[in-house]
Amino acid sequence: MELSFFPRDVFAELDRLQRSMQRAFEFSPSIRGIARGGYPAINVGGTTQSVEVYAFAPGLEAGTIELKLEKGVLSIAGERAVDVPEPNEKASVHVNERFAGRFHRVVALTDDLDPNAVRARYRDGLLHVSIQRREAAQPRKINIE
């Protein structure tokens, strides 16, 4: 996921590979930047009424993010533009760690979600998707007659 399919620079790719290898062996890999799942990194949380998904996807335009919820599976796809220039005489790239290119991540959520009650918001490179649980799945107080 972290390696791009069209390497611009072999050494940059090797460096990225080395970094991800390093992270894999470290005690707490996530401390070395956003690692475990590649781009975007995802956090999931929940309440009794909803499931909250946070995708850390910096550098996108909100309109280009493809978001889909199908049978409790949320998929996030899109493409991030390349900021690093092609190798040339005028500029040299010293560090190249940021992801560029197409991405696609899938998160399996619970199946008690209401696909018609989804709210998504993209701000400061953070995509927040809030999905309501179905009425029937929410905790209810039961009256005793």
């Binding site: 401390i31 929940g46 910096p58 040299s92 490179g125």
Partner: protein
């Protein structure tokens, strides 16, 4: 521009290391850093001598009453990375732009450090 050893922090101040791209051309250096969830107000950039520090707090929209985390790839609410700048960079001329969680920093080289063509005079 080098990465400083200060990135190894004591445990209580742990922060995520944001991925960066650093590109140098004849007039200066451009640095891009991924800081998702960091707004302009929560970004802290400072230069102390030759050390450039990029720091930012992630802003989460939490549902009322809090929530229970079930899966977390971003385990800390803060980004931090320190770079050592070299002498030829002019920190007075530092331009910063933050858009959709990407910081773009432009640091110009001091006039004397820019490449110059030397004219050889005929005697």
């Amino acid at each position: 521009m080098k990465e400083a050893n200060e990135n190894r922090q004591p445990r209580e101040e742990q922060a995520l290391l944001p991925p960066v791209d650093v590109i140098e051309d004849a007039n200066g250096i451009t640095l891009y850093a991924d800081l998702p969830g960091v707004s302009k107000e929560r970004l802290n950039l400072h230069v102390d001598g030759e050390a450039l520090t990029i720091e930012g707090d992630i802003g989460f929209d939490m549902p009322q009453g809090g929530m229970e985390a079930t899966h977390a790839e971003v385990s800390l609410p803060r980004f931090r990375r320190v770079f050592t700048l070299s002498k030829e960079l002019d920190t007075e001329k530092l331009q910063a732009e933050l858009k959709h969680g990407v910081l773009k920093l432009r640091i110009q080289k001091a006039e004397h450090a820019k490449p110059r063509k030397i004219v050889v005079e005929a005697s």
